[in-house]
Symmetry: C2
Subunit: 387 residues, 2 copies
């Protein structure tokens, strides 16, 4: 195990009806709020109204930025920053999924910065302070509700970049499984793929002697796998939605990667793909991950054997390590297919035309990944396999 | 799953040499420190000196309270409170195991209170504020380094009582596995039993649909079981010590009980036993837990079957649920015996003379536990089985 620091002060309020506590949490930080939302579903299902009723009853004033895109755009974020600066906003409240929360984090950082918020994503500047952020989550996927990560797309430069800072950790996050009842099937599926992909990025590592972290990871994967078809078949299954929601939060809150070197090559490749084609993140990951696994497994077959056995219950008798590992990868791909995720880039009408450009984008900061360090040529091969 | 709040802002600094960061962490809160230690081992192995060198280099002044007992006593704690009030202490630094940390928490709370700190333990008063606390852990056992619990013994009244408050959560905890190298075999064993017991108290629950929490619990148990003999056979096995240390922290930091009703009857019984006989907490738990399991299992055999299968790999073919459950319990007892923990109260020269008195103490606040609510008569039976 490697040395590590773990510090996650985000307060979770989990369960049906927890929205009632929202004003209590908000007023610890201020009463002038920017509410940030996405495409309108939080209005339709009434969450926005519920929040506003509680906030107004506590004497809060609020402004509203709506229309955050699924891959949140810099230009929309800049509008939010402008409101914060102009109105003297004291706390930002994100109501939505990962995109809304990621955009809100950018707004929180940008509101306390004189330059262009994009500087944080290009590493031109470092986040030194940010407005406090609260979140009400409506989609189990990114884990953004309990981490300091933010991913933003700049369409001018066709770049999708991430930044991480403990200054961006939400002060609180309200997780009500009933808010995910109305998530459509495709987004439920993308969320499931996203959660599992986050675990993969941290599970496949050469750091040895990390049994607790690895078993925590397997716990998340198995919980998601067991509950996936339940939420797809019955979107209002409270306990299944709750288990998926909880898994999504713990898949990327800094718990399962403590003391480990992680990978994140597949995310880098997917970000390059969706920066060029604007495809759903979870869809891209479902296509790419099995191919990444097959491409890198020879760099450490043991972990893929453990994965196959502990997560997919692959029988080992009479099989070589490679056969066991491949069976685990096949089962991963089959699972993604079974729940309705895509398996080839051509499902999104993506051909080989821009592979070179995507690979270039993926490795713009140098080689990616750690299980096997991937060069541009490696990325091209993985993308070709994924066509 | 039940609704829950989870909020654990303790910062962990984990790994060899992390003590170097101590002054950085301390000075966020002040530079007038009360250092609290136990019986002298932190002096012998040099941790106290290391800490002092770093603190003095950063301009801190410090006072020292030593001699905290294994079951920390109210009278010693009161001395610490007096120093804090007299000297205007700004932060307490606990260097030691769970007892030292528990005592330090009491000091932190007592320093900000005009009455007797024991009021918090008897529920006469509630903790409203406390001095900040930092810890340097030297023993994997109680989890006190990342929770708000404190257990203190009042020898005048022969009571061992616990209090829990988020005000008592350490601001930071330094966890260096090498500091646990010199823990003697018996205390290593008691620590292992303590960790596993904490998991048992939270794992055995009637709350349904908690697969993630339950698998996290099993992850901790399996990690501890696999690493136990490694640390006993080779006390300087870094990775094994690290895995046990990490398991101890996550066994009682609020993670594995989220959304669950927990039990804690066995801890209540053990506290009653060790308040009367001053035996090691881990020793008492090793004796009591298998008997508690056997006594309550008919109240929900399924969980004990899952436990037997997932934790102890018990084969199920051709066996009744009860046989499987009993095999899991037997394996638990055998494991405790194998690592050198006691299995009967008579190992501590405890006979039946004061059973009634201990049972009375255990249920002083009413029935205990939730898997099966235990009355005084139930406790007497469990204690008789444990003789």
């Amino acid at each position: 195990m490697e040395n590590f620091e773990f510090h996650n002060p985000t307060k979770l309020l989990f369960g049906k009806g927890e929205i009632e506590k929202i004003a209590n949490e908000i007023v610890r930080y201020g009463n002038k709020i920017l509410i940030v939302t996405g495409g309108g579903s939080v209005k339709k299902i009434g969450i926005l109204d519920q929040a506003i009723v509680h906030l107004e009853a506590s004497g809060c004033t609020w402004f509203h930025l709506e229309g955050i895109e699924p891959n949140p755009r810099l230009t929309t974020i800049q509008k939010g920053i402008e409101i914060c600066k102009r109105e003297g906003i004291e706390i930002v409240l994100a109501i939505g999924g990962g995109s809304v929360i990621d955009a809100s984090k950018a707004i929180c950082a940008g509101a306390m910065y004189d330059g262009d918020v994009w500087d944080f994503y290009t590493r031109k500047s470092t986040i030194r302070s940010a407005l406090p952020l609260g979140t009400v989550l409506t989609l189990a996927a990114t884990g953004s509700e309990m981490n300091g990560n933010s991913v933003v797309t700049n369409w001018e430069t066709q770049e999708k970049l991430a930044v991480g800072s403990n200054k961006l950790l939400p002060k609180f996050s309200i997780l009500d499984p009933t808010y995910t009842y109305s998530v459509p099937k495709d987004h439920t599926v993308y969320g499931i793929v996203d959660i599992m992909s986050h675990v993969f990025e941290q599970y496949f590592s050469h750091t040895s002697h990390t049994p607790l972290q690895d078993r925590f990871s397997e716990a998340i994967l198995k919980t998601v796998i067991e509950n996936a078809t339940k939420v797809i078949d019955n979107p209002k299954n409270y306990d299944a939605r709750a288990n998926i929601l909880l898994s999504s939060t713990f898949a990327l809150n800094g718990l399962i990667n403590i003391g480990k070197t992680t990978d994140w090559a597949t995310h880098a490749i997917e970000h390059a793909v969706s920066a060029v084609y604007d495809i759903p993140h979870g869809g891209g990951l479902a296509i790419l991950f099995p191919h990444w696994m097959a491409y890198v497994m020879d760099n450490g077959i043991e972990k893929f054997v453990t994965f196959a056995v502990n997560v997919w219950n692959v029988e080992t008798e009479g099989k070589t390590d490679k056969e066991i590992a491949l069976e685990g990868i096949t089962k991963t791909r089959e699972f993604f297919n079974r729940i309705g995720a895509p398996s080839q880039l051509k499902n999104y009408n993506i051909g080989s035309e821009r592979i070179e450009e995507m690979a270039e984008k993926a490795v713009r900061g140098g080689t990616i990944g750690s299980y096997k360090r991937l060069t541009k040529e490696d990325v091209i091969k993985i993308l070709q396999e994924s066509l």
